[in-house]
Symmetry: C2
Subunit: 213 residues, 2 copies
Amino acid sequence: MPPPDVVLPECVTSAVSESSLLPELIDALRCLPGVGPKSAQRMAFYLLERDRDAGRHLASMMAAAMDRIGRCQSCRTLTEAQLCGICANPKRDQSLVCVVEGPSDVAAIEQATEFSGGYFVLGGRLSPLDGIGPEELELGLLQQRLAAGGVRELILAISPTIEGSATSHYIAEMAAAVKVPVTRIAHGVPLGGELEYVDGGTLAHAFCGRQPV
Amino acid sequence: MPPPDVVLPECVTSAVSESSLLPELIDALRCLPGVGPKSAQRMAFYLLERDRDAGRHLASMMAAAMDRIGRCQSCRTLTEAQLCGICANPKRDQSLVCVVEGPSDVAAIEQATEFSGGYFVLGGRLSPLDGIGPEELELGLLQQRLAAGGVRELILAISPTIEGSATSHYIAEMAAAVKVPVTRIAHGVPLGGELEYVDGGTLAHAFCGRQPV
C-alpha cells in the first residue's frame, strides 16, 4: 500500500486536464501521422474551444470514410463506389495502364501530369520477409487485365528502392509473358537539383540513361 | 456552354481521388490547427490504408468529446463533469487562485510547477473591439468567488501582451475592491535566453524587476 501522503492525481493520471474524455481525445489524435503529444493537445483544445462544429463534422466524415471507402474493383485505388472515377470515365484511355504503389501516387500523377490512361494501384511493394507477396498486392487482377488484351503499354511508376525495383521486375516479367510492352518512368537528376549534391547512385543511373538532345 | 472537348473531371473537381467522400475527409481534416492540404491528404491516406480502427476510434472519441465536454462550474476549465478534477480535489488549496487564459495554460502550469491551489480559466482576454468584455470571460463568477471570502492570494498568470495586461489590470482592480491580495507571475529573461537576443521591452522589464540575490 502506498503511504497516504503520496498525492499524484492530476499531474500523472491525467496530466492535461481533469476530464477523462479530454486525455482520451488527445491520445486518439496521436494516431494521425506527424502528430505528437503537443500537437495533439493543441488540436484538442483548439477544436473544443474554438470550433466544435468543425470537430463534429470531421468526426462524422471520418467515421463515414472509414466504413464506406473501399477499393476500386478494377484499379484497386480508394473509392466508395465499385469503380473509381478514373476507371468509370469513358474518356480515359484504358489501353495505357500506369502501375503505382498507392492511391497518393495516383493523386500526385494526376496533379502533375497530363496522363489520361488508367491505373493499377498495388497497395505496397513485394516484400517476402514482411509476408507481402503477389497475392497481397492483387497482382492476379493485373495479370487478368493484361491477359484479356487491349493493354498497349504498361507504365511502371514504382519507387526505385530495392523492394520497388524487385516489384517492377516481377511485373515486367508478368507483362512480357503476355507480350505487353512495358516502360518505366525516368530515373535521374531531379529538376532544380544541383549535380554535386545528388547521390552517386542517382548520378550513375542518370549517366547511363543519357538521352540525345 | 463550354466546348464539348474541355475535359477536366478528376484533376479539378476531385483532384485527389475519384471518391467524393475522400476529398471531403481531406477537406474536413484541414480544420485541425497546423494541417494544410498536403498533411490532410497524408493523414487521410494513412488512416484509410493502414489504420482504419484508429480512425474509427478517433472519430468516436472526437464526436463524444465535442458533445460531452463542457466547462467546470467553478473554474471554467474544460471537463465533462460538473466540477473538474482540480476543483473537486479536497487536497488542492482553493484559497490560492491562479487566473489563466485557457485550459492549455492549466496543463502547462500543472506539468511545470508544484502549484497546488485552484484555477480560474478566463477563456480569452478582454478585447472590447472584438466584443470580448468581462461578461464573455465570466468575470462575474470570479468576482463571486473573491467576494465570498476565503481567497488569500490571487495569482495572475496571463500573457504579458497588451490585451493580456489590460485583462490583468482589470482583474487586479476587481480583487483590490474586495481586498484580496494579487500577485502576477514574474516577467523577465527566459531561462537559457541570451541577453543580447532578448527584446528590449523584456530586458527593460527584467531590469526594473531585479531582485536581491
